[in-house]
Symmetry: C2
Subunit: 217 residues, 2 copies
DNA sequence: GTCTATATTTCGATAGAC
DNA sequence: GTCTATCGAAATATAGAC
């Protein structure tokens, strides 16, 4: 029987659709549980409950807990990399760095669980994504350092160390996700409002851009 | 038999000395294991091996894994608070904030395990030290915000949001401990040298101080 | 205060009917 | 592709001799 004869999707096939949908549900539940409990504290039972599936089904889609975790971390890394595009699409330093900070702040707000899983993975010496750090991340970082150094050499910004500027942007933007609970506690126990997120983003942009000899946009 | 008749220490007592020494060894091992494996990934066996003691002895000194973990987190918080003194001992903003950044960078280097345990605790919604966040940390933060705001009102620094400045200092300095593995990977796999730590500290101070309208010292 | 042996629980993973 | 029942491993915690 031809798949295309069955219904809506022409090429995918029913089995593939079910698989894709279930994987999505499981991955979302896993991201949250891994973030809230850590890899060691997370249990397949917890993830299954949050996904609304029997525990055995998780093992049907992801053979082991490690495999499920690996997929969660890889997905996060992709989102993280995509934000880097905002860096390259602008030619002048203030726009480029400002846009990059804004993109990273948006990710911290939209993917707080993913950010925590990433932080946890790196804190535990990156047992799963060490190869990404050594290849993709290292290449991206070196490229951006060169771009910033060029701006400095051209006298378009203050002569700071590009590497430590990048670390500061990563640290500060991801702090709003990873330490979100602390920030919420210091905000009278309430999550940041839209207005407060904007204020945070503006503060970060303002201090960093002025700190490297540029004006905030 | 009187304790003071037994030997070196007059008031402590032999039992108390042994207890103190063993607790220290256990707490140091626990700090490292909790940092490297997370609370859920850490096992009493691992901690016992690292401390060079039988597993049962850990339970003799700390009834449960939770109790041992709580002590580790509380000890770290105390170190963290002590660094805050550098903030108050200087009257002018550049000296105060510069010294605070330096103190926090020193702690990141000297207590990387503790920093990671703290980060992990906060990322998991502070199940153990939530009360500290709501009392001690909140009070300290509000006090420092007022001090910074006074400097701004007196025209001694740029009108930035003091709260987000504090978050930036915390995030950036602790990043060198919590994400130390990533930084090491991006440093050709080698830990930062003395010289590199100094360069990092200078970069952070330079960008932040200039970013809030002050000059680096 | 120390340490071996073990009780008890929990978790990851699988078997096998449907 | 789904789900119940369960196995086997590993972990926390304790008992009890020394």
């Amino acid at each position: 029987m031809d798949d295309s004869a069955q219904g809506s999707r022409a090429r995918a096939g029913k089995r593939t659709d079910i698989r894709r949908a279930n994987e999505r549900v499981i991955l979302q539940a896993a991201e949250r549980v891994f973030a809230e409990a850590g890899f060691g504290g997370a249990t397949m039972q917890l993830i299954a409950d949050m996904a609304g599936l029997p525990k055995a089904n998780l093992h049907y889609y992801f053979a082991t807990k490690e495999e499920l975790y690996r997929r969660v971390v890889e997905d996060i890394f992709q989102i993280w990399l995509r934000a880097a595009d905002s860096f390259d699409d602008a030619p002048d330093p203030a726009t480029a760095i400002g846009a990059y900070i804004e993109a990273k702040m948006r990710i911290s707000r939209q993917h707080p669980f993913g950010s925590k899983v990433w932080a946890s993975e790196v804190m535990h010496a990156a047992p799963v994504i060490q190869d990404y750090l050594e290849t993709t991340l290292r290449a991206w970082t070196e490229g951006r350092i060169k771009a910033i150094q060029r701006w400095i050499d051209d006298g378009r910004m203050a002569p700071i160390d590009p590497r430590h500027l990048l670390y500061m942007i990563w640290a500060t933007t991801q702090h709003y996700a990873d330490f979100g609970h602390q920030i919420e506690t210091l905000n009278a126990g309430r999550p940041l409002t839209d207005r407060q997120w904007k204020a945070a983003t503006d503060s970060v942009k303002s201090i960093i851009l002025r700190g490297i000899g540029l004006v905030a946009g």
